[in-house]
């Protein structure tokens, strides 16, 4: 059953989600960027704005009149909502005989996200695999993630840095959502992805979609994507190409600033450190996002396994596109293009992979 929803009904959807007990977050273009912010009504999402993205460049520009979800994505993915950039894991209190360690549990929050792109849904599914489906379940991630509700928005136009079609994650949301919207000129096509989504949709005022709506919604913007990545046999290529000269080339441009890993929706490295209060009676174990680009990342006493930027860039790319598949069964890259846009040096992963492939010792694979 394909149904359409009037643009004015978006407000009803938001109100409904609040009534169901969700805190609703939507993509709010502001402050020269775009991020998921708490919203209570649709009008808080500025209309008629698009983003202009290129390697090392992000601008919000005038878009198409009446278009609500014109901005593809901003620097912020959903990652910080489930995997907090900084959080306390343990509180350790000095006691008369020694000390006592107490686990700190995050308060569970029911959050609904409106306007989630297919790439970011794929990233959430990947982070679920990392934090929940391994030998150790991360209780903190689990508490934040448990009740999340996703309203996806299919991408009808790509940013210039997008390459989700190459990674098989988009541009149309195929799984992981409760509801999915495709924005048309004068409405939305609504798809249901779960029983919870079905229950919400049942309370919305929807109309049957006609043939022209369905045709309009079926337009796939994959063909418009400027960037692509050839993923054929990529793990083997990168494992074999540890000495490819391109690593030196990219290391000369990479600032090792960690931006790419911070904006990446799947990167999961974090530090675990103990911060003691100044009186010395309480110490907290804090987890913070870390990056394989930081100098300390692979340092042990008397040895740093990745001293040079060349080694750190190679580690990041090889992990993301190769060893990630061995570890978690799929590529760590969802093709969102954030690492390209937010790299101050404009380094483009798609270009780096192509160059490594072209310069491969065994010839192009």
């Amino acid at each position: 059953m394909t149904q359409r929803m009037k643009k004015s009904s978006l407000d009803d959807l938001i109100t409904l989600l609040w009534r169901e007990g969700f805190t609703v977050f939507g993509p709010v273009p502001a402050n020269e960027g775009c991020s998921f912010q708490e919203i209570r009504r649709a009008s808080e999402i500025p209309v008629g704005i698009r983003d202009e993205q290129e390697a090392g460049r992000y601008r919000l520009v005038a878009g198409v009149a009446g278009e609500i979800f014109g901005v593809t994505n901003g620097a912020g993915s959903l990652k910080p909502f489930f995997f907090a950039p900084e959080e306390t894991l343990l509180e350790v209190q000095r006691a008369p005989r020694g000390f006592q360690a107490r686990e700190v549990k995050p308060a569970a929050r029911r959050a609904a996200f409106l306007g989630v792109r297919a790439c970011d849904l794929a990233a959430v599914a990947m982070q679920d695999r990392i934090f929940l489906q391994d030998r150790f379940r991360d209780t903190h991630y689990e508490a934040r993630r448990a009740d999340a509700f996703f309203v996806a928005v299919d991408c009808t136009h790509p940013a210039a840095t997008c390459f989700c079609a190459s990674m098989g994650t988009g541009p149309r949301a195929e799984s992981g959502f409760d509801l999915a919207l495709t924005e048309l000129e004068d409405g939305f096509i609504v798809r249901r992805g779960s029983e919870r989504g079905e229950a919400i949709a049942a309370k919305l005022e929807l109309q049957p979609a006609d043939a022209s709506d369905i045709e309009e919604a079926a337009k796939n913007c994959a063909a418009e994507m400027k960037r692509r990545m050839d993923t054929s046999d990529l793990p083997r290529l990168l494992y074999d190409e540890v000495e490819n000269p391109r690593w030196d080339d990219v290391a000369a441009r990479c600032l090792s600033c960690t931006n790419c890993t911070m904006v990446c929706p799947t990167c999961f490295c974090h530090s675990v450190a103990d911060d003691q209060e100044i009186e010395g009676n309480m110490s907290r174990r804090i987890r913070r996002w870390d990056s394989c680009f930081s100098l300390e990342h692979a340092r042990i006493h008397g040895m740093n396994f990745r001293q040079k930027i060349r080694e750190r860039y190679r580690q990041w790319l090889t992990h993301k596109l190769a060893s990630w598949m061995d570890q978690f069964g799929a590529s760590g890259c969802v093709g969102c293009g954030r690492c390209i846009t937010w790299c101050p040096a404009g380094i483009d992963v798609t270009e780096e992979v192509a160059a490594i492939r072209a310069g491969a010792a065994k010839g192009p694979a």
């Binding site: 894991l89 343990l90 350790v92 000095r94 005989r97 020694g98 000390f99 006592q100 360690a101 686990e103 990392i130 934090f131 391994d134 030998r135 150790f136 379940r137 991360d138 209780t139 494992y239 540890v242 999961f268 490295c269 974090h270 530090s271 675990v272 450190a273 103990d274 003691q276 010395g280 110490s283 174990r285 987890r287 870390d290 394989c292 300390e296 990342h297 692979a298 340092r299 042990i300 006493h301 008397g302 396994f305 990745r306 080694e311 190679r314 580690q315 090889t318 992990h319 190769a322 060893s323 061995d326 570890q327």
Partner: protein, 274 residues
Amino acid sequence: MTPYAMHTARITARRTETEGIYTFTLRFVDPDVGRAYRFTAGQFNMLYAFGVGEVPISIVSDPAEPAMLEHTIRVAGRVTTVMGGWKVGDVVGIRGPYGKGWPVEKARGRDMVIVTGGLGCAPVVGLINYIFRRRAEYGDLHILHGVKTPNDLLYRDRFDQWRRAPRTKVYLTADQPDKSWRYRIGVVTELFDELTTPPASMVMMCGPEVMMRYAARSLLSKGIAAEDIYVSLERRMECAVGLCGHCQHREHFVCKDGPVFSYTDVKELFGHSL
């Protein structure tokens, strides 16, 4: 138990191995935790000094007596410096055990070659102790250890003790010897010239990766199967449960897939920093 729960343990004994290296015996404060605690040879715990931090330390005591946990700590960095000052009666934090240990079951009944290099290698000391407590269950034991200078030879007494044990040979070498050095001169890999062991032997190694890479080559050329060679790797670890990413070694997380690996799983990676 969640991955982050930490228990407390009391130091019941402290022994100085040499200047800057101490072995501590720990007993869980909560007897129920102590009774439930089990580990295998080659696994490690995360030890915590209040307010300072946590480090991965391998267990050197015997898995048959899990209530008598022993850890040897070498004072090296910020956290271990504090740990070096631990006294009997002090309360410390502990979580674990983590990782995969030595394949001691696979090695049962076979001749063993144990190779170490550099400064005291706790994972191997625990392994040797394990074998000595079950001496009849294992074949001949060859212990090869290489140091840079004679001063780096820790546990000199232990090597002498092991040397006197039946069916045990100890091979020592120093790269830069002094007049007091009574053993071989050269790098550890040269010791393999002296080694006479049947190809069916099992090999377990710990030390600098370059050393292990060359050692593996020598052993392979002696007919030892790649599947019978095991190595213990060292990487930065902060969570110990395969989530923080620091110990990543290409497709492996050293904390949960290791620290002991089959040589066949990591042979392509020696010398690389992926």
